[in-house]
């Protein structure tokens, strides 16, 4: 059965009104009968929120599942580090929330660069996620009456965020991991730990399997299936310093891109406003302080530049609460992109605080006086402790210092309404796809999207594809396509090991990060992006000539793992810059200095750029080809996003 990739992007959005689309899809999609599901094999790569929930649900439905994680346990994926919460349109607090409002806030928060139908579906299934997770035993915060508590997050005017102290991501992941573990025991899911996917295998244009390296023995194995689902997260670590875990990488989606899956909106990256500023050049990562802190903390800098007095000695009259001043309606709870840019502006004006003048204050004095220390401790105690461990400063007494850091990537593999990439049989879910957050993600929406994709979308949509392959066997791993793919993986590993260079992988990664954060970070311009597009390939060339990777393949070798990941970050970073250069407008997290209003806000250009920029790989030596998916706004008229 030969299928070719479509020349134009078909988003496969169903007909009907917004409210009818998902229901209509469910009513008309092809089904796989319960007794036939066991005849299909599905590979899931990654076991974070999206991957674990998808693998568990596939298993419950009766599919044969093979799941892969490079961690030592499925419970360690970076979803675990999400602190603040998960959104849902439950309206348990009768403050006027609804599915439509959650949809509207997400579209607006994303600065009108996401697909209406996908976002509406996300809002529709959000309530089921809370039901599911609660039934699994996720210990969400409760009120005294025993019902669920909510709090508010940036960019919205209702309380719709469910949370489990400052450990919501951990608790949700433990929920998915427990569901996955149940299926492992039942034998429906075969789970491979410390196993990293290094290649997607295609036959006749369809995804038919993966090549995997066992991280402890170096053994390269091939696995075939009827469909492959990538749930491998985002690529913020391209910047080197980010809030992502050390191992987070873009290799899986990049390998898929090189095999024909288009990559959308690569430049849409989120720089999160509340992270602990770097303390020195050896810093290996940046630590996020939950956005929820902005519910009670007030952000300020000294009114005058280079005011080096300790914060407690700066009187009110000499402080500039710049978010409250510029955005009175949302104040400290403006969306992340707005808050980050505002912080950068203060520091660019030499108003930065702390030893390296690289932060702004997040101050809890007013909240402590208003609510008492006990209340603040109950709400944020673990975050305050974490802050103190890292900085040796006590935020009950001294304001926190925060600064923006790369945190999340809205861009990712292009997917249609069914979450399938442009390669038939290859799906991308969670942060790995580009789908729901447009140019800026709202707080507490990543957990929602990961679980929506994994629990409530792909378990349905994948059947619509599989149904056509009933009673066909997966392609044999003896097929030449598998031999070729695994040989290519071996060659690549051997190339790193045989290289007699002088510099470490981390050195190159740091240098790449510096280029990307400077030219493709919170503010971008043509000259800078052009420079990055010449600097990155040069650095990549130097990397291949001069990188030093010791040891061998046949053992645990973390430098070798990193080498492959960083090699892919060079190419991905280049695409980020190319995408940023192409998008001559400012929207959400993508701020082109050439396109701003008189008072420095983002200036969108809907007439020319209301599209998803989807890039197709055309080979090592040629530029990628741009495909445009025009975004139609039938229900929400794009307006200038105002939080004033």
């Amino acid at each position: 059965m030969l299928e070719t990739r479509p020349d134009t992007l078909d988003s496969k959005v169903p007909n009907g009104t917004l409210e009818e689309k998902w229901t209509g899809y469910l009513n008309s999609m092809k089904l796989v009968a319960p007794t036939n599901k066991r005849k299909f094999k599905i590979i899931v790569v990654g076991t974070g929120l999206a991957g674990a929930s998808a693998a568990a649900t596939f298993g419950e439905l009766g599919y044969q599942v093979e799941a892969f994680t490079y961690h030592d346990s499925a419970r360690r994926a970076h979803s675990i580090a999400a602190q603040g919460g998960i959104n849902a349109a439950k309206n348990y607090h009768s403050d006027g929330d609804s599915i439509y409002r959650l949809f509207y806030d997400t579209i607006k928060g994303g600065d009108y660069r996401s697909r209406e139908a996908n976002v509406y579906r996300l809002a529709e299934v959000s309530n089921e996620i809370i039901d599911q997770c609660t039934a699994q035993g996720v210990p969400f915060a409760r009120e005294y009456g025993g019902l669920l508590d909510n709090r508010s997050f940036g960019g919205v005017q209702v309380s719709r965020t469910f949370y489990a102290r400052g450990q919501t991501g951990q608790q949700l992941l433990l929920g998915s991991y427990s569901a996955l573990s149940r299926q492992v025991k039942l034998g429906t899911v075969k789970l491979h730990t410390r196993a990293e996917m290094l290649e997607v295998v295609l036959k006749d244009g369809r995804a038919v399997g993966v090549v995997v390296r066992d991280l402890t023995t170096g053994e390269i194995t091939t696995h075939s299936a009827h469909a492959v689902v990538l749930a491998t997260g985002g690529y913020s670590n391209a910047y080197y310093l980010s809030t992502n875990a050390m191992a987070c990488n873009g290799t899986a989606i990049w390998r898929a891109y090189r095999k024909g899956a288009q990559f959308a909106n690569a430049s849409f990256t989120q720089i999160h406003p509340t992270c602990i500023p770097a303390s020195d050049e050896f810093q290996s990562k940046l630590t996020l302080m939950s956005e929820s802190l902005r519910n009670d903390g007030r952000i300020w800098v000294p009114e005058k530049a280079e005011d080096n007095r300790p914060p407690n000695q700066i009187p009110e009259s000499d402080r500039d609460y710049y978010l409250e001043r510029r955005y009175p309606a949302f104040g400290n709870l403006v969306p992340r992109d707005v808050a980050s840019r505002a912080a950068k502006r203060q520091i660019d004006q030499n108003k930065g605080v702390g030893p390296l003048h690289n932060g702004v204050y997040l101050d809890f004095q007013d909240a402590i006086q208003r609510l008492g220390r006990d209340v603040i401790e109950a709400r944020y105690g673990n975050l305050f402790e974490m802050y103190e461990r890292i900085t040796d400063e006590n935020p009950y007494d001294v304001p926190m210092r925060i600064y923006p850091a790369p945190h999340y990537t809205m861009g990712g593999l292009w997917v249609d309404y069914e979450l399938m990439t442009t390669v038939p049989g290859l799906y991308a879910i969670g942060e790995a796809n580009f789908s729901d957050h447009g140019a800026n993600r709202l707080g507490a929406s990543a957990l929602m999207q990961g679980l929506a994709d994994g629990y409530f979308v792909i378990p349905y949509t994948i059947g619509n594809y599989l149904a056509d392959y009933l009673n066909t066997e997966p392609v044999s791993t003896d097929d030449p396509v598998f031999h070729e793919a695994s040989a290519a993986v071996r060659d690549r590993l051997n190339r790193f090991l045989a290289n007699n260079g002088t510099r470490t992988v981390d050195w190159f990664h740091r240098e790449l990060g510096k280029i990307l954060i400077e030219h493709c970070g919170m503010a971008r311009n043509e000259a800078g992006l052009e420079k990055a597009l010449s600097d990155i390939p040069a650095l990549k060339e130097e990397f291949y000539a001069d990188v030093k990777v010791l040891g061998e393949n046949e053992t645990l070798n973390q430098s070798l793992e990193k080498a492959g990941r960083v090699a892919d970050f060079f190419e991905l970073g280049e695409l980020m810059c190319r995408d940023a250069l192409n998008r001559e407008e400012s929207c959400g997290g993508h701020f082109r200095e050439e396109h701003q209003t008189d008072d420095g806000e983002a200036l969108r250009r809907d007439d020319e750029f209301a599209y998803v920029a989807s890039w197709e790989w055309t080979g090592e030596s040629s530029d990628p080809r741009l495909h445009k998916e025009q975004l139609e706004f039938e229900n929400v008229a794009p307006t200038t996003r105002s939080y004033k």
């Binding site: 961690h71 599911q132 951990q170 573990s181 050390m246 050896f282």
Partner: protein, 254 residues
């Protein structure tokens, strides 16, 4: 700061291990412990020596991947703190620091400081879940959960599965980990239908891999998340109840 490191090196699961001394020079007190090791590894690679392999990932104290025995204490000298959140300001210039992997029969060494903790996953697979298929859940507010129960469950659920409790235990027992996982679910109304079966299955699986608990309490002190010993008592009670119930089910008198 300048430090001397005494580090356990072991080429593979079956190889013999040994301590190797390294100098860690020009270390900033603001570095985390793992950043200090990063700096040492950069130095080793540039000298053509194999870097020290160690497990780590989020570096925020939540994923539970990092796992070092520092001067004989799991996660080092700072209480309630995982290795990744330990900073060099807790050490003094000139110190010699001994760094070892978790040492427990249940955690075989993979290489250098990396161990295999997959026995924890086997315990979860045995019963660390509530059986609820996707889509079958009722409205989340249908079943109120007393706030105190939710909070106690959350106290248990805060376990990050790092294995420090096992490493700290002279018996290499995994009671604290298992009790945290059992209690998280057993304290909630949603967890009641499977409560006793869960406890028996998880405890029995735990005993296949780990030593026995003799109530020493090193585990709770080593725990970076302060999981309480009380949960072990809770688990033991449910285990006994579960065993008695099983006898009844097989027709024997309790």
């Amino acid at each position: 700061m300048n430090l001397t490191l005494k580090v356990w090196r072991q080429d593979g699961p079956a190889a013999a291990g040994r301590f190797v001394m390294y100098d860690a020079t020009d270390i900033s007190p603001d570095m985390s412990f793992l950043e200090m090791l990063d700096a040492v590894n950069e130095q080793l690679i540039s000298e053509g020596q194999l870097p020290i392999e160690f497990d780590h990932d989020c570096r925020e104290g939540i994923c539970g991947t990092c796992s070092l025995m520092i001067d004989g204490i799991p996660h080092g000298p700072q209480l309630s703190t995982a290795t990744c959140q330990l900073h060099m300001r807790k050490f003094a210039d000139g110190d010699t620091i001994t760094i070892e992997p978790w040492r427990a029969a249940g955690f075989p060494i993979v290489r250098d400081l990396v161990v295999d903790r997959s026995a924890f996953d086997r315990i979860i697979e045995a019963g660390g879940f509530i059986s609820v298929a996707t889509g079958s859940a009722p409205d989340a507010n249908l079943m109120p959960v007393p706030q105190a129960a939710a909070e106690a469950a959350m106290d248990a659920a805060a376990c990050i599965g790092c294995g420090a409790c096992v490493a700290a235990c002279p018996n290499g027992a995994a009671q604290l980990f298992t009790a945290a996982k059992v209690s998280h679910l057993n304290l909630l109304p949603q967890g009641q239908p499977e409560r006793l079966m869960r406890t028996v299955n998880m405890v029995d699986t735990m005993e296949e891999y780990f030593g026995s608990c003799t109530n020493i309490g090193e585990c709770t002190t080593a725990c970076p998340k302060d999981i309480s010993l009380d949960f072990i008592a809770l688990m033991n009670r449910d285990y006994v109840r579960g065993k008695v119930k099983q006898r009844r089910l097989t027709g024997q008198r309790a």
